[in-house]
Symmetry: C2
Subunit: 118 residues, 2 copies
DNA sequence: TCCTTAGTTCAAAAGTTATTGAACAATTGG
DNA sequence: CCAATTGTTCAATAACTTTTGAACTAAGGA
């Protein structure tokens, strides 16, 4: 029940760039970066598209090596593969995230934060 | 006889990333970076595809704001828009070029250097 | 067990991008 | 003017990508 991920040395520059060249996926990466450390499940991104469509985009990100998906019960916990990307393409992720942070044209992941239920 | 270019603030992150997510275009950018300052005409890239196909890829790069094409006689002199890209997306181009420099999977622009004819 | 929640898979449709060749335009040199 | 050089445009096709809905799987809770 583990999903396929490329290992670090298999991550390809054109594939990563191509995958990030999509507003939906860039919005996902931007949101993941803003919540770094916190593992988020897929339904967090439902603002960005249908369940099916997100499954598609999240698979693209995972197959490119940009994210990692860990199966936890019926959930897939999604994290950015920051260390791997930094090792393979130093500075790339940082500059992409910094640029994406200011990009008003990107769709936003809404703020239905459940956190702090105490 | 000037070709259309976006101005700096019109350059879009997802479009730039998408355009760079293609091995042919990444190879063009890598080569331009390696010859920075030297304006190169389109036929420099003929190793990477047919004349028509290069016209297509070079137009994509230009329309995305990655390159500038200046008309000089029957030539289009192509340069990287490094200052504009650095202003808009600090660090992005550097990290892409550094990563592309080591990428053996990218096609190469051959070495038919004419230079130093003196 | 049955129901719900979370997400995937499949096939179809729609849309986009890449590649090709033939025809075209513009400039330069003879 | 004529021919060569440089690159574009156009239309066709091929190849991919995105989006959709319906059907499905797998785990967890009542």
């Amino acid at each position: 029940m583990t999903l396929p991920h490329p290992n670090t040395d298999q991550i390809s520059l054109p594939i990563v760039l191509g995958v990030l060249g999509d507003p939906t996926r860039l919005a996902i990466v931007r949101y993941l970066a803003s919540k770094e450390g916190v593992p988020l499940n897929c339904s967090r991104f439902l603002d960005l598209g249908s369940k099916t469509n997100l499954s598609y985009h999240l698979a693209k990100l995972r197959e490119a090596g940009v994210t990692r998906a860990e199966v936890v019960g019926t959930n897939r916990m999604i994290t950015l593969r920051r260390a791997d990307l930094d090792a393979r393409f130093p500075g790339l992720l940082d500059s992409v995230i910094a640029a994406a942070a200011d990009d008003a044209a990107l769709p936003a992941v809404g703020g239905h934060d459940i956190e702090a239920s105490a």
